[in-house]
């Protein structure tokens, strides 16, 4: 509990700052008299500009899932990634507390590199290792207004890395906040969260400040934990009737447990995470379809991590042997080899040198792919040194090593965008941006850090009304970067309005993913100084483990996606049915290859590198529907079916089927009852697949929320029961979710 205290202290201090700042824009004081010029005739600032208005989804040329505030509240989501369970085709997992991940159409691991994620137009992708620090973004779930998820590549609109999908998050305009908001949540495995938000309003200015503290003890059966404090602010300033300025900043600081207890090479430790950003946006709106914006931002993501230790060579030896077996297991899919390794495992556990020698003979006889026999022979060799080691005094067996896991990733970008209408039937959006990524990661890019990348981008897309019921969408992005040079990502979609209630869409798009700086410049290893008493390993006194050495020459990954969509909007209030049939072809996938012999001197068969490998294909169907059942009940459904063809890897990272159901019912306007069911068929995350850790998830949650007034304040509380039908695993099979209860209380004061 003691680690919770700093956050509480920070929150209390923040409350003292925020409370006096929070002003009420309309408390009855001296209300001035009306004036015909001010109150009836003079121009007012454009508040709902085209960029703020959402185009009806049925007019959208792509498959889009919208998660608005109402759905965020109804789903009872406790984290941002929780929400993506509602999106067909998404996979969500939390390998450890504080580091959740989300991916679209498989290939997910801790560093999902194929999603573009924008928060108010700011890319939060980490240029060093890819992915989004979902668990430590300086963003409170309570400040989010709307999330649009474009299911499919869309670089022409959303920029580089809009590869498999785009998540576009919009926070609330500061004018939408009032007074002081406090909310607290507690439940599960000692998880809690406190959020405090204050706002201030003046004639032309709206301001908001949010502070949040979160703590979690993670999975019951694991040693994980996480805690985070964040502070974010937004200032909206209305310069004139047409010009507006928006400034934002955010800072988060926390840590989460990584590594494993008892593993000297990856010890259990807290990894510090810090993220901060500043963003400025100027916008000029001259009408509904006449907009010019300039935006700049600077984003920083840091890891504070590292470890060092002295280990007994005996333990190291045992680990090396396990590691060798693991490697043999992961390389071969041959059941005979697996059987052999199983027996080698037993022989190793028994220290049975004779049995191991026999197995080596058998491995040679099997004559399968890979060097299984050679690796088993290595084990025999190690086992032979065991008696010598045992004879030594402990201090002479010690091996020491250290690893510097500190990283800093910075991204700065300036973007200019123009939106205009040319005539009745043509709308255009175009612009350009300059971006600079800088990373420093001495332990991950030994002797190669720091590194940087520059990206120049031009983009444009047009919406052309060909006929009354035919809309053509065409666009492209030209990108030039230091890593892979230049590329063009085009996109084309045709929308046919079959009736006022039904729309067909046909689309093609192509996008690329530039390797992240780690994939380009990796030089990662743990160097262990071996004791003299361990004379094996080719006479090298240093042993390098977990080597990943980038060899350069990577091409960008490319995706080509075709989709056929149909959307039906029944007359009932906000009901819809959306079907998407898709086919995706991914080429030049960047993947690690183990043991490839390259010119690099220090490259040996324990190393891996990044190469472009052959492609793969994904086909399937996705359904999303929102169906009212009576005036007070609504069912929301998301379903995905997909088939992955991959010749090089087991196609297990993409589940064949997934389903989400959310049923909400309002017995009275102040009460909400909801039930949620999630199902994901067998899948394995990429970093779990080597362990053949296939899991399937069934989850059932119930929720009750009540809104009430308490001493003039608007208040609400909710009670949430999760994982009711069975325990289910998440990400790794040992990550078990037990039935748990969460309680949330919130209040709007003043």
């Amino acid at each position: 509990m003691s680690r919770h205290l700093p956050h509480v202290a920070v929150l209390l201090a923040a409350a003292l700052v925020i409370a006096p700042v929070s002003g009420n824009p309309a408390r009855a004081s001296e209300v001035p008299a009306l004036n015909e010029l001010d109150d009836y005739l003079d121009e007012l600032p454009l508040v709902l500009s085209a960029t703020r208005l959402s185009q009806p989804i049925s007019d959208s040329p792509a498959s889009i899932t919208v998660i608005d505030r109402e759905l965020i509240d109804a789903s009872g989501a406790r984290s941002l990634t929780d929400l993506f369970r509602l999106v067909p085709g998404f996979q969500v997992g939390e390998p450890r507390a504080g580091a959740p991940v989300a991916t679209y159409h498989g290939f997910g691991d801790e560093f999902q590199r194929r999603l573009q994620v924008l928060i108010d137009g700011r890319s939060v992708y980490i240029p060093l290792y890819g992915g989004v620090p979902w668990g430590s973004l300086p963003l409170s779930l309570t400040d989010i207004q709307r999330i649009e998820i474009v299911r499919g590549p869309n670089a022409a609109v959303y920029g580089p890395n809009a590869f498999s999908a785009v998540i576009n998050i919009t926070t609330r305009h500061a004018a939408e906040d009032a007074g002081l908001h406090v909310s607290a949540e507690r439940g599960g495995e000692d998880e809690d969260r406190i959020t405090l938000r204050g706002s201030y309003h003046a004639e032309q200015l709206d301001m908001r400040l949010t502070v949040e503290g979160r703590d979690s003890d993670g999975y019951r059966d694991r040693d994980d934990r996480a805690s985070l404090g964040l502070l974010s602010g937004r200032l909206d300033y209305s310069l004139s009737a047409s010009d507006a300025l928006s400034a934002q900043f955010g800072l988060s600081d926390g840590d989460y447990a990584v590594g494993e207890r008892g593993d000297p090479l990856d010890p259990l430790r807290d990894r510090g995470v810090r993220n901060y950003f500043a963003q400025l946006r100027w916008e000029r709106n001259r009408g509904v379809d006449d907009n010019l914006s300039v935006q700049l931002y600077h984003n920083v993501a840091e890891w504070h991590d590292g470890f060092g230790a002295q280990v007994d060579s005996l333990g190291l030896l045992g680990m090396l042997l396990d590691f060798t077996l693991d490697r043999a297991r992961s390389v071969s899919a041959d059941p005979a080899v697996h059987d052999l390794i199983l027996r080698a495992d037993q022989a190793l556990a028994d220290g049975d040198l004779a049995a191991m020698n026999t197995l080596v003979q058998q491995a040679v006889a099997l004559n399968t792919e890979a060097d299984v026999a050679a690796w088993l022979a290595e084990i025999v060799h190690y086992l032979q040194t065991l008696p010598d080691l045992l004879a030594l005094p402990a201090n002479e067996r010690a091996a020491s090593f250290s690893f510097d896991g500190n990283t800093v990733s910075r991204r700065s970008e300036v973007e200019i965008q123009r939106r205009q209408r040319l005539g009745d039937s043509l709308r255009l959006v175009y612009g350009g941006s300059l971006r600079r990524d800088q990373v420093d990661a001495p332990g991950y890019m030994v002797a190669r850090s720091p590194q940087s990348n520059h990206v120049y981008r031009l983009f444009g897309h047009a919406e052309w009304q060909l006929a009354e019921n035919l809309l053509l969408n065409a666009g492209a992005m030209y990108e030039d970067n230091d890593i892979t040079g230049s590329d063009i990502s085009p996109r084309l979609a045709l929308l046919y309005r079959h009736s006022p209630r039904s729309v067909w869409r046909l689309g093609y798009s192509r996008a690329t993913r530039t390797p992240v700086l780690f994939e380009r410049h990796a030089n990662m290893r743990v160097d262990i100084d071996l004791p003299a008493a361990l004379p094996t390993f080719d006479g090298d006194p240093q042993l390098s483990l977990f080597e990943i050495v980038a060899s350069g020459g990577l091409r960008p990954e490319t995706i080509e996606a075709w989709e056929l969509g149909y959307r039906f909007t029944p007359p009932a209030s906000r009901a819809y049915f959306d079907l998407k049939l898709f086919h995706e072809k991914i080429d030049d996938l960047i993947d690690t290859t183990i043991g490839e012999v390259l010119a690099e001197d220090d490259f040996n068969d324990t190393s891996s590198t990044y190469t472009n490998r052959s492609g793969m294909m994904i086909s399937g169907a996705e359904i999303e529907a929102s169906l009212p059942a009576g005036a007070h009940t609504r069912l929301r459904l998301g379903y995905a079916y997909a088939n992955l063809w991959d010749v090089e890897r087991d196609a297990t990272s993409l589940p064949r089927q997934s389903l989400s159901l959310l049923l909400t019912h309002h017995p009275t306007p102040a009460d909400t009852l909801s039930a949620e069911f999630y199902y994901v068929s067998d899948m394995a995350w990429m970093d779990a697949s080597e362990r053949f850790d296939l899991i399937s998830t069934r989850r059932f949650d119930l929720r009750y929320a009540h809104r009430f007034r308490w001493r003039g304040a608007d208040a609400h509380f909710s009670l949430q029961l999760e994982n009711l039908i069975e325990k289910s695993s998440e990400y790794f099979s040992e990550n078990v979710r037990y039935p748990s209860l969460y309680l949330r209380l919130g209040m709007d004061l003043y």
Binding site: A26, L37, D39, Y40, L44, D206, D714
Partner: protein
């Protein structure tokens, strides 16, 4: 509609746009063309400032008055803050017309014995002004369009909208509350002295289809409008503005008064007065124009062709 076209045509004549210097000549010409019948009178005309809305009202008024009138025009230079006690004798007429609140306030105070017609001012302001009684009659054409008319037209254009929330300062309940119209439900949300506007708005939006804005400065002002429009839009509930600028800012639609149409209507009242009809009770203008924000309509999935209603003027009793 007939009246609307007439008034538009008359405004298109270049002579009507001429500088005040050209006016006496023009009036002389009119006097020759239109033979004056019966009585003549002197009209004292004051306007609150030089804003274009005041000018448009004045030009339309003068343009539509017959040659029977002699105009004593205090013009735009006339400053509401300046004392005219010394000039009280010289500034007078058979009847006075004030354009805007300031001019109305001043003429009401300074000419207690002269009939006064105030134009283009908020209804609330006129009521405040005449709280101090005068000996001669006081009448007005407000800038406001009646809220009930707003409701009827909104309901007609957007049949999906049936329940309207009305947010107002509890200290100043609007007269609209007593009225009922079939097919329209009005839900009153008075704002007590301690109430937070945005929290009240959120509650108001929950049980209605749209928010009806009324001229109540406690609720609708330059400081609060961003919050109101954004919050209503997030709740997917459109705002019906009470004035045209609301529409560009982000309201779905508004009925509003065209200053020129109001000027023409005032000219008609003055002519009748000269013919012996007393000034009518203070009231709302007979004509209204509609503004629609097509972007908002599209975003809220309310189908309408905004261009159909653009630049047209409707008479009080007609629906578009």
């Amino acid at each position: 509609m007939h009246t609307a076209q007439q008034s538009r045509q008359s405004r298109r004549q270049p002579a009507r746009r001429a500088a005040p210097i050209a006016l006496p000549g023009l009036l002389a010409l009119l006097a020759l063309l239109v033979a004056p019948a019966g009585a003549t009178a002197e009209l004292l005309l004051a306007q609150s400032g030089d804003a274009s809305a005041y000018r448009q009202t004045r030009e339309a008024l003068l343009g539509d008055l017959s040659a029977r009138w002699q105009i004593r025009d205090l013009g735009a230079e006339w400053n509401a803050g300046e004392t005219t006690a010394a000039r009280r004798g010289e500034v007078d007429g058979d009847i006075a017309t004030a354009i805007g609140s300031d001019a109305c306030t001043r003429l009401h105070r300074e000419l207690p014995d002269t009939p006064l017609l105030c134009l283009l001012l908020p209804r609330a302001n006129f009521n405040d002004i005449i709280a101090t009684p005068a000996r001669a009659v006081r009448s007005a054409l407000y800038i406001d369009q009646p809220a009930l008319r707003q409701l009827r037209v909104a309901r007609h254009l957007f049949p999906q909208l049936r329940r309207f929330s009305l947010l107002y300062d509890a200290a100043k309940p609007p007269p609209l509350l007593d009225a009922t119209t079939p097919g329209i439900e009005l839900i009153a949300h008075p704002l007590a002295a301690d109430d937070n506007l945005l929290f009240s708005l959120r509650r108001a939006l929950r049980d209605s289809d749209a928010l009806l804005a009324i001229p109540d400065k406690r609720v609708y002002n330059r400081r609060s409008l961003r919050s109101l429009l954004l919050t209503a839009y997030r709740a997917r509930k459109p705002m019906i503005g009470y004035a045209k600028p609301f529409v560009k800012a982000g309201a779905l639609m508004s009925l509003h008064t065209r200053p020129a149409a109001l000027g023409s209507e005032a000219a008609g009242l003055l002519e009748s007065w000269l013919d012996g009809t007393p000034l009518p009770q203070p009231g709302h203008p007979r004509h209204y124009a509609i503004a629609i924000n097509p972007g908002i309509a599209r975003a809220l999935a309310l189908p309408i062709d905004a261009a159909d209603y653009h630049d047209r003027l409707y008479a009080a009793e007609e629906l578009p």
